[in-house]
């Protein structure tokens, strides 16, 4: 079942005695191809033979091997995968072998939708006992590309359908240690906190998560992900967000460094819009920034923040101008 990578070793189908009974079917592009595709000879021949067994609906061992070769040449061809599944079912193949096959080809094709879908199909059939292997597999792919969207989707499906939550939070911690900017890992962290049956849920986890997030923010205040994660921990409960000192404190700390403070300002702006009453120190720090960065001076803190952001984040100046014009009437 091994796919032949080496063109020198490949024997053309026309020379293989076990295929002598089959008449290959050429690709029909229609009379005047609109977006026609050029073909490499080996590929052309392999696909001609594939078409023959596909049209004949031959669900045999040699057909399975043929799909292996075709997939080796073009793993994105979804029709080949469909047919392969039909053959696997007809032959009642041991799907552990199939899983090993996917292990081999997935690394080189880690962004291929068909391979991930096929993996899921196999895992579903193998059932909950497959959970460990699936988590191991996605971990392997994520070690090569920690933001691979397919790997994360698969991992989330595995956790929810097959289980295996025990070490997931630790895994997120490890990935964030490797790269604190990995938005996918932050997203997964939120997934675990909110959905794991083994943890207490968002409310129970909130305090420890806020501490973790604040530390991450202070290490790299220009990192978008932990700021969003922090907001997410209060799940739309703006009163809680406003009243938790840890939130305003981290904004103040970042602002005092006078560096990478855009996200700090924007969170502070939101807090003010939700009714937050700033301390004198906070007001002072912001006003100082306002004098340094802008020409205008304004007693209104929220307006000052918007002016600063218009200057220091000019790409989004229209957004900040809109915020300035849409401040709630009671805001400081």
């Amino acid at each position: 079942m091994s796919s032949s990578d080496d063109d020198d070793e490949r024997i053309p189908f026309i020379q293989r005695p076990e295929w002598s009974d089959v008449r290959p079917v050429p690709q029909d592009d229609g009379p005047h191809p609109i977006v026609p595709i050029a073909y490499h000879d080996d590929f052309r021949e392999t696909m001609d033979y594939f078409r023959a067994v596909y049209l004949a609906d031959e669900r045999s061992r040699r057909a399975l091997d043929l799909t292996t070769e075709a997939i080796g040449m073009n793993p994105a061809n979804y029709t080949v995968w469909h047919f392969r599944r039909l053959v696997l079912e007809a032959l009642n193949v041991d799907l552990h072998e199939e899983r090993d096959f996917i292990d081999e080809i997935a690394v080189r094709n880690s962004k291929n939708y068909q391979i991930w879908h096929h993996r899921r199909w196999v895992a579903e059939k193998l059932g909950p006992q497959a959970a460990d292997k699936e988590l191991e597999f996605t971990m392997m792919i994520l070690a090569l590309d920690a933001k691979n969207y397919h790997a994360w989707s698969h991992r989330q499906w595995v956790l929810q359908s097959l289980g295996g939550w025990e070490k997931e939070l630790d895994y997120c911690c490890k990935l964030l240690e490797d790269d604190i900017f990995n938005n996918s890992a932050w997203n997964q962290r939120y997934f675990v906190i909110t959905r794991s049956p083994l943890l207490g849920g968002l409310q129970a986890m909130r305090d420890s998560e806020v501490s973790y997030t604040v530390e991450a923010i202070l290490a790299n205040p220009q990192n978008e992900s932990p700021w969003r994660y922090l907001r997410g921990l209060y799940k739309g409960d703006t009163d809680l967000l406003v009243s938790d000192n840890q939130v305003s404190d981290v904004c103040l700390k970042v602002l005092k460094t006078n560096h990478n403070y855009i996200f700090a300002l924007s969170l502070l702006l939101d807090l003010l819009c939700y009714g937050f009453q700033p301390s004198h120190e906070l007001k002072r720090v912001v006003q100082f920034l306002g004098k340094t960065e802008t020409d205008s001076s304004d007693a209104n803190l929220a307006t000052t923040i918007c002016s600063i952001l218009e200057t220091v984040d000019p790409m989004r100046s229209n957004y900040w101008a809109w915020r300035k014009n849409n401040l709630p009437s009671q805001v400081c």
Binding site: G30, H32, P33, A76, S184, E224, R228, M315, R316
Partner: protein, 448 residues
């Protein structure tokens, strides 16, 4: 006037001359009754030039000429008369003679469309977009028979046809292709037994290719070739119990497929075949706390998935589920220092996000939150100015996929000379109008 042409444009201001400012255009009619326009990259320069005209005319004329500043003007009343001088013929001889179809479809009730019919006269208008090269590139894909890379795209030729043909239409060059040949190839990709389309002849049916097929037929106004009941039954049959959609009988579920199904059924006027409420609820269940959407509930927000979800919600009149301000902010944060857009925080910019992010912003009415000039520059820098085509980022290899998304992004930003594109249906606005309102002018489809 521009760096392509060293000849100076000379007009007699003191003869029969009238001008009008409509930033970024400076329009004028000269004594020969020609209507021309000068496009300015910088709005300030445009107004400065207009002021100069005004001062000259005031200084020399006995009766002071006042520049017309109103939006409605006599320019709108002039009938569009495309002539061979202003229209570029097809760059490649079409397979069958269809010269008349090479004339751009200039609708006379839209001033900008009228204006764009004079593309070749305007010099500066399409200066940075090498439109001719892109058309050549798309048409030449047909001729590249020995391209090894192309073989991996064989199964998705239906998508390729949609990308290439829609781009041609945006560039007013759909006439370079013979609709009959396209339609006949497409129908060979159709599975009569189930009502779906495959990616190419001999491929299994799938929702992705069924949508592309329906979109291409809409481009050519040939939806009549379809057994609409059969095709819509196929699509509706892919809805799952939780409201989500699978791509085909094998069950892969993804919000991309929710969009494909909803867009397709809407074009076919058969949305009533699915449980729209459940479909919407499923999409909403994929909404994250940052305001974005993922491929499954809990999935990371990603610009591509966001486009699919917002598009599906827009088409079903369900945009009230979107927190426009929150999502708008997330989307405008995708713009990076190079002016391009990425798809998620801390990822690289890519031209295709010019479409996913931009169309989403337009659907929620927040597109003014990004810096359009910088994004325009980014897209234009991704062009292969020698051979045509657009790549994912500057100096990379081009492909039809990125060529479409680059041109589409420019269209959404109203780059001159391009047809307008509907952000939800990803088809030219005149095509969408034709689907829903026949050939009359349509009210906004996105009012909610």
């Amino acid at each position: 006037m521009n760096r392509r042409n060293t000849d100076n444009l000379v007009e007699d201001l003191l003869g029969d001359f009238e001008y009008e400012v409509q930033v970024p255009y400076l329009l004028y009619r000269n004594a020969a009754q020609e209507v021309n326009g000068i496009w300015f990259y910088n709005a300030h320069d445009c107004e400065a030039a207009a002021n100069l005209f005004g001062r000259i005319l005031n200084a020399y004329s006995k009766v002071p000429q006042k520049p017309k500043a109103s939006t409605k003007s006599e320019f709108e009343e002039l009938e569009a008369v495309p002539t061979s001088a202003v229209v570029e013929g097809p760059l490649e001889p079409p397979p069958t003679s269809s010269a008349a179809a090479a004339v751009p479809d200039v609708s006379d009730d839209s001033f900008v469309n009228f204006f764009s019919g004079f593309g070749s006269r305007l010099g500066a208008t399409m200066e940075d977009l090498v439109a001719e090269k892109h058309v050549k590139y798309i048409l030449s894909v047909e001729k590249k028979k020995d391209d090894f890379e192309s073989l991996v795209l064989e199964h998705l030729r239906m998508n390729g046809a949609y990308w290439g043909l829609t781009t041609l239409d945006l560039l007013h060059k759909l006439g370079a292709v013979d609709p009959d040949e396209v339609v006949s190839w497409m129908m060979e990709c159709y599975h009569q037994d189930c009502g779906g389309f495959g990616g190419n002849i001999g491929h299994d049916p799938h929702l992705l290719y069924t949508l592309s097929a329906v979109q291409v037929l809409a481009l050519f106004d040939r939806l009549d070739v379809l057994d609409i009941e059969k095709v819509s039954d196929y699509v509706a049959g892919l809805q799952n119990g939780d409201g989500s959609f699978s791509g085909d009988i094998w069950g892969e579920t993804d919000t991309r497929f929710s969009y494909c199904a909803i867009c397709c059924l809407s074009i076919l006027h058969r949305l009533d075949k699915i449980d729209v409420e459940k479909a919407v609820n499923y999409i909403v269940s994929c909404k994250n706390l940052d305001g974005g959407f993922g491929s499954i509930p809990g999935g990371e927000s990603h610009a591509g998935q966001i486009f699919c979800c917002v598009g599906a919600l827009a088409i079903t009149g369900s945009l009230h589920h979107v927190d426009r301000d929150l999502l708008g902010w997330w989307l405008c944060e995708r713009q990076c220092k190079d002016g391009g857009l990425n798809g998620r925080p801390e990822k690289l910019t890519d031209v295709c996000y010019s479409w996913w992010v931009l169309s989403s912003l337009i659907m929620i009415d927040r597109v003014h939150w990004i810096d359009k000039d910088k994004l325009t520059r980014f897209i234009l820098n991704c062009q292969d100015r020698e051979n045509g085509g657009i790549s994912d980022r500057p100096d990379n290899a081009v492909d039809v996929f990125h060529t479409y998304f680059g041109v589409a992004g420019l269209s959404l930003m109203e780059y001159p000379g391009l047809k307008s594109l509907d952000p939800a249906y990803a088809l030219p606005v005149d095509v969408v109008n034709r689907i829903f309102f026949g050939k009359q002018r349509a009210p906004s489809l996105l009012a909610s």
